[in-house]
Symmetry: D2
Subunit: 224 residues, 4 copies
């Protein structure tokens, strides 16, 4: 059993509320209001900036070249590919990069991103990767579940591309590598004594991910 599986099991209620959130159901059947999705996309753009910073932090927290290379590759993937894809994707939703960059950060965006970064700074690399796991691995699980579920509407679903992105082999490999990296860190920096505090971190991060979906459901009155 991987460390990730153990943490996910220990936080089963919070995890269910996150991966089976009404926002996710709205993506699955295509009923999510467009204004919600657009609000989410803008905040996800701001989120990615801090996510890139978290990978920079992981580089700094590494004590060997292998960990540095892994984190640097993740950083490069975000900055050089994921953000480009995100911007292109947003353009199809008529969202301009400069507008997104200038949009005010929602409380939920600040809460999750700063929680992760602060945990990474006060703890060690394993604390950081645990705080990131609900995001990295969770999106993979959501994408896979929606894709595999026959009830998911694919034909004519405006959110089909989003689902396919996270169900794709490429993203699944990223998620699997994260799970493996956590196990490797648990060997080098851990032991069962760390489980209680890692579980707290995982639980809080998962709750903040669910709050990020909540935020997605409540776009501001004026378009951001």
């Amino acid at each position: 059993m991987t460390l990730f599986a153990e943490l996910r099991h220990a936080c089963a209620d919070e995890w269910a509320r996150y991966v089976d959130h009404p926002f996710v159901r709205g993506l699955a059947d295509g009923t999510l209001p467009e204004s919600c999705f657009r609000h989410y996309l803008v905040q996800d753009y701001l989120f990615l900036i801090h996510f890139a910073r978290a990978y920079g932090l992981a580089v700094f927290k590494s004590d060997n070249l292998n960990d540095i290379r892994q984190a640097a590759a993740g950083l490069s993937a975000i900055v050089d590919q994921e953000m480009q894809l995100h911007v292109a994707f947003c353009r199809r939703w008529a969202l301009d990069e400069d507008d997104m960059a200038a949009a005010p950060e929602a409380d939920a965006t600040m809460a999750y991103t700063r929680y992760v970064l602060e945990k990474g700074l006060s703890g060690d690399l394993l604390d950081l990767q645990t705080a990131l796991a609900p995001c990295i691995v969770g999106y993979g699980e959501i994408g896979q579940r929606l894709f595999d579920n026959p009830a998911t509407r694919m034909e004519g679903n405006p959110y089909r591309e989003w689902i396919e992105t996270y169900a794709a082999e490429e993203y699944q490999a990223v998620a699997a590598a994260h799970v493996a990296h956590m196990d490797s860190l648990m060997v080098r920096r851990g032991g069962p004594g760390r489980l209680p505090s890692l579980t707290t971190t995982f639980r809080q991060a998962t709750r903040l991910e669910a709050s990020f979906w909540d935020m997605g459901l409540c776009p501001p009155m004026t378009s951001s």
Copy 2:
């Protein structure tokens, strides 16, 4: 004009929403539901723990003995006095310290505290003190305003002690010292070029303080 006054002026709308929040009005006229105040007290206890950590961070970020001494004195005030007072105060509201320590952190508590700590780590001591200012100086302003306002109900107001604590000379001196320290840091580490990003930090921290009041108004169904 102090740096604090300048920032407060630049974020006048957010500031007004924070210091004149319905939660504050409920304290002023005593109409705030007790369950809200108790929920707030518990979260404020959790908040103080991270607030102490922020002072520890300020010690680390200091590059001279004076700044170290000032931050160490602030830390000692929180750990040795303020938390004791808070615990004694909470006991009069039938809140037990162990229960408070075990209560789950609300999203709003995580959001503000981690925002401050992360800003302090990614920026410098001036960024940190700016992120702390809405809390430290704002509570002083709220206490003073409520105390000075003839419309504030003092007689029989269950929140009178709270108001008097922050209106007291002792707390006002803490707030004034923070304002002066920010000006001193602006001289040593700053200049007008820093205003845009300091304003963003101040605005976000002020918004997160208002969200903390929002949270206070919405206690969980079961007592925390």
Copy 3:
């Protein structure tokens, strides 16, 4: 066997070079040139400033009130007592505080202090306390050994006060508390998997302590 004892055993050669350094022997028999001791005292003053910062960092890295209180008490001991004692002690050696504060930091001072702080930031609280251990616990061992050794000259030894300070019950208690804290952290944040990297940290910190004694033996030509 404590974690400290295990690390000390694993780094026996480096440890011996540190605690039985010519500088230490010169303290024991009183033959250390006065210029060396004065140079050491000045650098030790600068060292204490960063040492206080390390305790501030430990406050920030704490995830519970007990650890915060322990670190805050250590910080207060340094800033309010140890530095005062150090300054009074230095005055008897005709060293003025302002002069010490303005003295250039020796490479060896920068090396050890920044190593500890950086390790504390890139790792977790256990990494930080391990990097501090050669200093905190080592000085206790040196003081005790010199005091217990009948070959140590006490009568008329100009360094008697230094020896007695670190042999005193008060300092021995500080050292013992540090050893106990490391064991407690090893339970909560550790396991055998951490030993290799903790050993590297302990070895490097011990070497840097020995280099600090080396520096003490080589005062600059002009009085610092």
Copy 4:
């Protein structure tokens, strides 16, 4: 006048001792003993690991996408190119990567790298880039000066490739970009008030670079 030029001018003595160090002269006329150069190459390999971590830290300390991209590009250049080149270069000097990775870090390597990282964490991005400047910009200046100086021996100089690397247009562009970035940060985060502490940082970093050359001149008895 750039900020870099101002700092270099303020620390003219330390700068001269660094860029005109006997180690550098030994590179210029080819008289540097091979054992010294090999010792330097091994420590430079360990240095690059922490240098990559400093770029990771710069990513974390960035508050906008432009700064993130610049730091991420620098990180990628180190991890994907410079370290590869360094390893290939070392192979021609019969140094194996695994041996280098396992070599003990010299005090001077720890001192400079940890100084930079700690300064970057306690200060802001401008403090970090200032601490890095003697390395990044200084190597460019050294390479250029040796290359331009007719007294430099090129024919048959075993260190010719080293000189040409840092004199090359590609490296000169990296150095120039660093100087420009510092000026841009000074506008956004600075003002004249920062000069005293930036000067201290620049001076200390320059001294630690000179100590790194000192270390290069004193290889351990056994090959590292």
